[in-house]
């Protein structure tokens, strides 16, 4: 099994007033290709901070985080942008679609950044939208979509470039139960068919039910690391 993320003695501190607030303390973890893992814990436990560092949006204060062979602390701004552009996909709680662009254009944007030729781009976008079942909405604007449809577009936008790792921060927080399950099934299907690694930050029990590994955080420390089901990962 291929290890794609290594976290070694990670500590992250933020300035707070005259002192510093420690968001993550001495965290050491390893993730393998194809995992469907979630960071769970109360607000302020460090889930999002950890996700941001893995996503190269932030850097460690101490320790080492290596993603796909790249040490996050050593990356320049441009290199970290390239890492995100090529290998990482983000899914947000509030979807964050571009409101003035159509569904098609929202998904296409990720590929525009990769300078993909137009014909390939079109095929990839249509494939991604077919994956999430939204081919009939390609000309719709985000405002015309339901919450579930909006999040599916966000998933299509994140997966269209076929990233190795998908980072999802509370992806179901704004969805009802039915849509949450629909979204999670879509992501699970992606995980199983494309072997994409998923890392969630969540405290939604519906999400937890799908996870194969649950890492519990409290006050910036890992308090529990449970492997629920390893079949999918083992197959790899």
């Amino acid at each position: 099994m291929e290890s794609i993320i290594q976290i070694d003695q990670l500590t992250k501190r933020f300035p707070a007033g005259t002192g510093q607030f420690t968001a993550l303390k001495n965290i050491s973890l390893e993730f393998r290709k194809g995992e469907f893992t979630g960071f769970v814990g109360p607000s302020g436990s460090g889930k999002t901070t950890l996700l941001n560092i893995i996503g190269s949006l932030d850097t460690p204060t101490e320790g080492e985080v290596t993603v796909l062979g790249h040490s996050i602390a050593q990356l320049s701004h441009k290199q970290s942008a390239q890492l995100r552009n090529r290998h990482l996909g983000f899914i947000f709680q509030t979807y964050n679609l571009f409101p003035v662009y159509t569904v098609y254009e929202n998904v296409e944007f990720a590929l525009l950044l990769q300078h993909m030729p137009a014909a390939e781009r079109r095929k990839a976008v249509l494939d991604a939208l077919e994956w999430v079942g939204l081919t009939d909405k390609i000309d719709s604007k985000p405002a015309q979509l339901s919450g579930g449809e909006g999040q599916r577009v966000a998933i299509a936008r994140a997966m269209v470039k076929q990233p190795a790792i998908m980072l999802a921060d509370e992806p179901t927080a704004n969805l009802d139960s039915k849509n949450s399950h629909h979204i999670l099934q879509t992501m699970k299907q992606l995980n199983e068919e494309l072997n994409t690694t998923f890392l969630f930050a969540t405290h939604d029990e519906k999400v937890m039910a799908y996870l194969t590994r649950i890492i519990s955080l409290e006050d910036g420390r890992v308090v529990k690391d449970d492997v629920i089901m390893m079949d999918n990962v083992m197959e790899d």
């Binding site: 441009k78 942008a81 995100r84 983000f90 947000f92 964050n96 571009f98 296409e108 950044l113």
Partner: protein, 424 residues
């Protein structure tokens, strides 16, 4: 990517409408005022050149020192020979003689007694030589109110104001009283062939225009001329070429200490026109700078507001792997696109308004008269090739500058901080 950005600009009215309006207004004003100032200064230069200074002018040194007094006793002698040599030496210019004079116009009654009198400034120009450009150069045919051009010796044009004031009709006799070149009294009868109105108070108060040969005869100035004027044959004043001609001509007389030796001046050298020309450039440049500054401040604020509104979008784009400098670049490209749209709209509007002013102008009447400068009463715009692109300078620069300043905020923030602020 540009197509993608253009779609965003067109669809997101908040991003484009206000900046396009601001830029269009600024560009409109830049184009309009630039063309108008150009027209005013160009008219002013042409009027002064055609009526008074020429593109270059030759006088005796003594005459030049007292030019305001029209001192014909200090006129150029052997003017015909001088013109012949000028035609040979400087064939790109047309050389003409002019005589300015002052005098009294006497309007006789039925019995030949004085019915009315008025002061007049006079000019002797070449009416009769076939192919003479002088009447057209001074726009005399277009300025005639009654009658026509003199077509034989002894005929004169007088200002229409004078004719109306003293009830002078076409064909009436008038008597010119003046002073000969040698200080003697000069008087001669003329028949009024027509009346003129130039739209310049200095000329319209009281003027008499006669043929140069009549002026030479009346003022006892045989083969003499107060001034010899040179005009570039293509009609366009070229300051550099004029300088070369002037330098070459004056060099020939540099060693001559005679106060009656001829001396050449350029248009720029006369009546403070150089300062006016410099002022025209300063005004045009200053106006463009002011518009850039004012619009940049407005668009900077617009850019800041737009940037705040689009924080979310920028954060998502960062997360998707777009580099900060790429986001910044796309902001600049967007501003160039918006600037280009605003510039096109503003230029079209500005050219339309300038065209109206070019055709009809705005009359400032007597408010602009006085001093040594001849000023047209109607200020017209002049659409030149520059009018088609001048607006793009503030249009593109202000939007780009405004967005560049507001976009610095993106650079100043660390990715993670920006990302947190976005709450994405």
């Amino acid at each position: 990517m540009i197509q993608f950005l253009l779609k965003g600009i067109i669809r997101d009215k908040n991003r484009s409408v206000l900046p396009v309006i601001v830029i269009s207004i600024g560009v409109f004003l830049t184009v309009l005022f630039s063309a108008w100032f150009k027209g005013i200064f160009s008219d002013m230069i042409n009027v002064n050149a055609n009526f008074s200074t020429g593109h270059v002018k030759i006088m005796t040194r003594a005459y030049a020192d007292n030019a305001g007094q029209m001192p014909n006793d200090l006129a150029l002698m052997e003017a015909g020979q001088l013109i012949n040599s000028l035609n040979t030496e400087f064939p790109t210019l047309e050389w003409v003689e002019r005589i300015h004079f002052g005098g009294l116009l006497d309007v006789p009654g039925e019995n030949g007694e004085t019915r009315a009198q008025g002061m007049a400034t006079g000019q002797g120009i070449d009416f009769f030589t076939p192919g003479s450009q002088e009447p057209e150069r001074m726009n005399i045919p277009g300025s005639i109110v009654q009658g026509g051009l003199p077509d034989q010796p002894g005929e004169a044009l007088i200002s229409n104001d004078f004719a109306e004031r003293f009830n002078v009709k076409i064909g009436d006799p008038i008597t010119l009283f003046g002073s000969t070149m040698y200080g003697g009294m000069a008087f001669s009868n003329f028949t009024v062939a027509g009346t003129v109105r130039f739209g310049m108070r200095a000329l319209d108060r009281g003027a008499i225009l006669i043929d140069i040969t009549d002026a030479q005869a009346v003022l006892d100035m045989s083969d003499a001329a107060g001034e010899v004027l040179g005009f570039f044959k293509d009609g366009q004043y070229d300051a550099e070429q004029a300088l070369q001609v002037k330098t070459a001509f004056n060099a020939k007389y540099a060693a001559d200490t005679d106060e009656f030796a001829p001396q050449m001046l350029r248009l720029n050298d006369q009546q403070g026109l150089d300062e006016y020309l410099a002022m025209a450039d300063y005004i045009s440049g200053g106006m463009t700078f002011l518009f850039i500054l004012a619009m940049s401040i407005v668009l900077w604020n617009t850019g800041l507001l737009g940037g705040l509104r689009r924080y979310n979008e920028f954060g998502v784009r960062l997360a998707m792997g777009e580099a900060k400098n790429h986001i910044y670049r796309t902001l600049i490209i967007e501003s160039l696109l918006i600037g280009a749209i605003g510039s096109v709209v503003g230029t079209i509007l500005g050219l339309s308004a300038a065209y109206y002013l070019q055709e009809y102008g705005i009359s400032f009447g007597s408010a602009v008269q006085g001093g040594g400068m001849m000023m047209p009463e109607v200020f017209r715009a002049d659409i030149t090739p520059e009018s088609f692109y001048i607006g793009f300078i503030p249009g593109l620069l202000s939007m780009t500058l405004g967005n560049a300043l507001s976009g610095i905020g993106i650079y100043k923030r660390r990715t993670a901080v920006l990302f947190k602020e976005l709450s994405v």
